[in-house]
Structure formats: C-alpha cells, structure tokens
C-alpha cells in the first residue's frame, strides 16, 4: 500500500455516497486497523446537487484530510463526473454509472463504466443499495482493503433487516467489477 491513497465518491445528494465513504473508512480504520480520514463537501441541500465524499487511506497517521491527487474517483452523475474527475492523478481511475454519465470526461486516467444503479434495481430489486454495490466495485478495483474487510464493514453498518440485501449488493458490485476488469 502506498503511503497515501485517495478515493472520491461523487454523485448527487441522496445517492448514499457519503455512507459508502464512511463504510470504506471503517473497513480501513476499524476492520484493518490502519488509518483513514473521511470527509465530505456538503451544501445546505439534503437532496440533489453535486455531492462528494472523500476517503484518505494510509498506513501512517493522515495529515491533510482532503484530497490532493485523487487516485480513484467514482462519479454517479454527469455533473459529478464533469466537476470532480479533473483532480484524478495521472494514471488514476474513473468509474462511472454508464446510464447516468453519457459523456465521460477524458483525461490521463483509466475509465471503467457499468450501469450501477440499473444493476442494483434489476438484479436486487432495490435501487437503494446502489451505493453499497458501487462500494463493492471500488474495493474490487482498488483492493485498498480485502474483500472480506469491506464486507465486514458493510454488515456492521447495515440494519438487521437489510444485512442480506447489502451483502448481496456488495458481492454483486465486487464481482461485476472484477469481470469488467478481466474483460478489458
């Protein structure tokens, strides 16, 4: 693991991306006992508008808690992709929802896409777990924590009645991403 690794979850308010960031930070800091700082930009609106959540990961204590050069960026809306992909480090990765980001921004980074929200809706019947599905994909893509650590963190946070659904969403995201990576 590099000294400092930066992941940005972006989209619109209400998509659960701040929660996805918190779960990832818990997987790093609590399950794996390393260091993570999770922060978010937030506006007065509770829904809509561009929203981002950042997780800084390190084996050492984290000084600056916001992104400097984003290693991996998830964008769940066109607006977020346009606004936030520009900070991706050269050779970094952008993951987008292919239904919602019709014009993925170009740059010196790898781009992956799949219909994240539609996958959640069609295969799990619940759009609400798209954030956990995206988290599974991000962990598959980056391996910043093990698959198991991510799952533990998801289960720790999910309400009892929704543990199984979240577990499925996480696994589906993880496997969809791995399949996509091996296809490329």
């Amino acid at each position: 693991m590099a000294q400092r690794y930066e992941i940005r979850f972006s989209g619109s308010g209400g998509q659960g991306l701040i929660t996805a960031g918190i779960i990832l930070a818990e997987a790093v800091a609590i399950v794996e006992g390393r260091h993570a700082a999770q922060s978010q930009s937030y506006g007065p609106e509770a829904r809509g508008g561009a929203s981002k959540s950042e997780v800084i990961i390190s084996d050492e204590p984290i000084d600056y808690p916001k992104a400097t050069k984003v290693n991996v960026c998830l964008a769940m809306t066109q607006e977020a992709a346009d606004k936030y992909a520009g900070d991706i480090v050269s050779g970094g990765i952008l993951l987008t929802d292919s239904d919602l980001v019709k014009n993925p921004p170009a740059g010196d980074f790898k781009h992956y896409q799949f219909p994240i929200i539609r996958t959640a809706k069609e295969q799990l019947g619940r759009e609400i777990v798209a954030n956990v599905l995206a988290l599974g994909a991000i962990i598959a893509l980056t391996e910043v924590v093990t698959r198991d650590s991510g799952e533990q963190a998801v289960l720790k946070r999910a309400p009892a009645a929704f543990k199984e659904l979240n577990q499925k969403a996480y696994a589906l995201g993880y496997e969809t991403m791995k399949a996509l990576m091996s296809a490329n």
């Binding site: 999770q38 808690p65 916001k66």
Partner: protein, 377 residues
C-alpha cells in the same frame, strides 16, 4: 481491549463532554455544530443528565450559566452567529466567575456567513467579543482524538479557573470522521471545582484569602450568596470602592496561570528556518506541506497552538529568533497574524496566507508561499 470507533469530530466532542462529567447541555442547534447537540440529546438523558433546546442562543447560554451555578458541569455548542448573541452572557460568566464550556464550530461571517464552509474567523471574537477586561481560555484541537482529549481539558480548565472556556473548531475537523480510541475511565484527568470548606455563614464567593480562584458553592445548597455582573466585593455584592474594584479586576486576569494552561505541538522546529504557526485543520495542511518541503531540503517546521488563548506569545518569540520567516496560514483575513507579529516583534519577517472562500488552505498554498519567501528573503 479499548473501544475504537470511526466517528465525527462533533461526536467525539459530545462523548468527551460526558467523560469529563458534563451533565447539562443547553443549546440552540446551528450548523456546523448541530451534531454535538444531537448526540447529547440522546446520551445525556440516559445517564441522568439534562439536555434542553432553548428558544435561542442567548437563552441557551443563560441556562448553562444557571446550571453551572447549581453545581453541574455545563456546556453549550454553537457557531459564529450564536457566539455573537452570547457575548453579554459570556461577559457575565467571566465577571461572576462561573465555569462553563462553549464549543464554537466556526463558520464565516460577519452575521450568518456561510453555514457549511470551514472558517477560523472567530479567533478575535473569542478573545475580545465581550466588553471589558477579562481572561480568555480557548483550546483548538486538530483531530478527532484530540477533540476528545481537549474537550475533557476544557472542562478541567473551566472548573479550575471558574471561567467560560472555549473550544474552537472548524467545519472540517468537526465533520470529518477518523478513528478514535476511547480513553478508559481514569485514563484522562478529570478535575472538579473547589467547593467551600467554611461554614455557610462564613462563606464569601470571592474570598481571595483562598487564592486567586476562590471555592464556588452550589446554589440550592446551604450556602447563600449574591451573584451580579457588577464589579463586586468578596461577598458578591456590588461595590464601587476603588481599591476593591481594582483588586478584583486584577485578580480575575491574574487567576489564569498562563504557563499551566499553555499547550503547543512543535513539529520539526529545532532546525526550522521557516516557521509555520497554524492550528485546527490548517495545521494538517501545514504538516503535509512541511513534509514535502523537507523532502526538497527546505527546513520548515510548525508551532501549533493547542491552547489558542492565552496566545503562546513567548514561545513564538523564541522560535522567531532563529527563523528566516514566520508564516501564518489562517482561514480568515488576518487575525492570528496580529498576535504573531506582536510576539515576533520584528525579529524576522512575517507572512500571511489568508483564505475565506469556504475552501480549506491547501498544502500546495503553503508550499508555494514558503518557496516564494525563500527566494525573496
């Protein structure tokens, strides 16, 4: 094994208040401090404490003062607009020497400013917001773990000195989530106010023969006394006698032991040519910048006041003697720089990095400034 969690700075503050023995919170929730009230509204009733949401910020501060006078450790949390409203009562607590803790998660200003943006623009409002001469103690943590320990220390200082103590935070550290290792009971020092030992009839609330911080009796106990915002004699009743007023005013300033309250973090200062003075989230940008600058052979270091008031003027003066420049990044339009300049007193050049657009000062801004200064000076 110790309890570990990933929590927000505001939650760490609320949990620490309970650890410190706080059993009364009154507030009027305001972004970006609201989570402190939210957490305490749930936790305090569970342990026999009281949470009350007042009609406004002024009422909240008044309730806190009343609860403290009745013997409880009491806290309020707000942001800049609330701080403005509370000034009269902060002065009252200073004059009547009533311990309490006031958290201010700063946002821009004046007036209602930018609720969701980070800021450090209340440094001077904290020191001088209320009129008249008065001692001010303010602590300024920079991480979730430190928010916990400094909140506990803030209560200790309030109870030790019979004074309102401020906790100054910015939106980033207040809302950021980091791992925190919860201290076990007894691990952090928890201090309580001195209570009177004399019989009730002999009690005087400001009897300086007991030292500069006389014992404070709880209202509702057998001890009866008078409380006023007017200059008072040792029995608590108003006075205009010159000698008494002068002695009391001077005692109220003198009672804070500046050396005992001082707390700084010093990072790579020993050989630093470029000294950065910063606190809160900006100190984390500074640390990042210093590491990068050191990699390029530039000897930068940081003095980070954790106790912001009283300002560590003496330490700043000492480190300035061997510095080529002292650089002050702060999220306002030039507040701490004034204190730094006063302390440096021309021993070396000073520079400001100022930002008030709702974005944090980045490590790159500090790196650029140091590199420029290096070429100019």
């Amino acid at each position: 094994m110790k309890k570990v969690a990933l929590i927000q700075g505001n939650e760490a503050c609320a949990q620490a208040a309970i650890y410190a023995g706080c059993r009364f919170f009154a507030g009027y929730p305001i972004t970006p401090s609201s989570e402190i009230a939210e957490v305490l509204s749930r936790k305090l009733p569970e342990i026999g404490g009281t949470f009350i949401q007042m009609e406004d910020e002024i009422g909240a501060m008044a309730a806190v003062i009343g609860a403290s006078l009745c013997g409880l450790k009491a806290m309020d949390a707000t942001s800049g607009p609330g701080l403005s409203l509370k000034q009269e009562l902060i002065g009252y607590a200073c004059m009547a020497e009533i311990p309490c803790v006031l958290v201010n998660v700063m946002r821009g200003g004046p007036s209602t400013g930018m609720p969701t943006g980070p800021s450090q623009s209340d440094i001077m409002a904290t020191r001088w917001g209320t009129h008249g001469d008065h001692a001010t103690i303010a602590v300024a943590p920079a991480s979730c773990q430190e928010i916990f320990s400094e909140t506990v220390r803030a209560f200790n200082l309030a109870e030790t000195y019979r004074l309102p103590v401020h906790i100054l935070m910015d939106e980033i550290i207040a809302h950021m989530r980091e791992k925190i290792v919860f201290p076990e009971e007894g691990e952090l020092e928890v201090l309580n106010r001195a209570e009177p030992t004399v019989p009730p009839a002999a009690y005087k609330p400001f009897d300086a023969s007991f030292g500069d911080v006389p014992p404070l009796a709880a209202m509702g106990s057998n001890y009866r006394y008078h409380v006023t915002g007017l200059n008072k004699a040792e029995d608590g009743f108003p006075t205009t006698k010159a000698a008494l007023v002068d002695a009391e005013e001077r005692r109220q300033l003198r009672k804070v032991d500046v050396a005992a309250v001082a707390k700084n973090e010093e990072y790579l200062l020993d050989d630093a040519e470029f000294v950065i003075v910063s606190f809160g989230v900006v100190s984390r940008s500074a640390r990042f910048a210093i590491n990068q600058l050191r990699n390029r052979g530039i000897r930068a270091g940081m003095l980070r006041p954790i106790t912001l008031w009283p300002f560590p003027a003496q330490r700043v003066a000492e480190v300035a003697k061997n510095a080529r420049a002292v650089i002050v990044p702060e999220m306002n339009l030039g507040q701490m720089i004034g204190e730094v300049e006063r302390a440096v007193c021309g021993a070396c050049p000073t520079r400001s990095i100022l930002r008030v657009d709702g974005e944090p000062i980045t490590p790159q801004q500090i790196i650029d400034e140091v590199e420029e200064v290096q070429h100019v000076l």
